[in-house]
Symmetry: C2
DNA sequence: TTGTAATTACCGAACGTTCGGTATAATATA
DNA sequence: TATATTATACCGAACGTTCGGTAATTACAA
């Protein structure tokens, strides 16, 4: 009964996400977002009535859903910890495109001075990942006191290896992080 | 022979740096920079004729000079590796204000799509830090093959712990990084 | 010592451009 | 035709930048 969308919501969010991740929130102007999606500004406003902020929020939300499904779920699943961890690592590699994609949690943490509208989501995402890493560490036999520390180290290494890979324009640090992740979590 | 400056260059660069670090390059508008420094926009152009880009470049350059002096120099110095590392860690704590200040290398790496004017400096800074960490690892007895890996880990943990501390709004991860840095570099 | 020129730092006001956002009309599909 | 979607035109505000001119200090000649 209506004209079909010229671009599906998934593809639309994916293109928007790429822009936000590559240039940051502030530099992602509507002109750039329009060009990246093939939709005019007015069309973007038709899809996101609250404008750029809504685009970013939905992008972040979708990205976190995807991350939860691809990475956190395997970590929290049942079964052999080593296998779960290997799957999570493989999906991390996919998710960050081998270290070529920056993390939205890092990108969206910086723009606004005060907490900003994204901070709660960011914090929750970090804590979910920490919890999942800690759980699989315990499942692998680590004492509860150490599990949390290993989880924090793993998350820091993930973020840091992405930053370093980007800074060096060389993805080796991220790849090395992935390789060392199992021993990092399950024991030295 | 001339009217004295109402704000010294060091203080000026320091204020600009704070803004860039807190909100990022794009969101650091001339209006904000003007307010933070007490100089009108036109006065900022008197000090930095090439505008905002020059401000950022000089801020980055000054910050890297400071970082080199405070952190890299101790690592490269002569003497007991443990003591040099302890000094570097203490100065890192100062430099990042206990984890409350973001790293410019992370902030300035994101804004521009293509390499951007800051990428060479960023890359050089990372490599200098990697080299310094690797040297002190070797000085501490690590085999050359492991020294570079430990250095990469340390840099990733530094950057990652800053990102995580910011995301969690809790500086414990950064503090823990500082505490674990010596064993990270000098041996398990 | 005084007065003037030279030099530098600073500022108010405006520039053209682009920003995010909003109408409204045209288009394409059902 | 009915309607979701897109395109065009436009808005006020903010952007980075520029310019003419003023304030403050020093150097030097009278």
């Amino acid at each position: 009964m209506a004209r079909p969308k010229s671009i599906g919501e998934d593809e639309l969010l994916s293109r928007l996400e790429n822009v936000f991740r590559e240039v940051g929130y502030e530099a992602a102007s509507l002109a750039v977002l329009s060009k990246a999606t093939g939709l005019q500004k007015a069309s973007l406003y038709h899809r996101f009535p609250r404008g750029k902020a809504q685009m970013a929020q939905e992008v972040l939300s979708a990205a976190l859903d995807c991350f939860t499904q691809q990475v956190i779920a395997p970590l929290n699943a049942a079964g052999d910890p080593e296998k779960r961890l290997a799957l999570a690592a493989s999906n991390l590699d996919q998710y960050y495109f081998g270290g070529r994609k920056a993390c939205l949690l890092n990108i969206f943490a910086s723009p606004d001075i005060d907490g900003g509208p994204f901070q709660p989501s960011i914090r929750a995402a970090f804590e979910a990942l920490l919890k999942a890493f800690a759980k699989i560490a315990r499942d692998g036999g680590a004492p509860a006191s150490e599990a949390r520390q290993r989880a924090e180290r793993a998350v820091a290494l993930l973020q840091g290896s992405l930053v370093l890979s980007r800074g060096l324009q060389n993805h080796a640090p991220f790849k090395r992080f992935l390789k060392e992740l199992p021993s990092e979590i399950l024991g030295k």
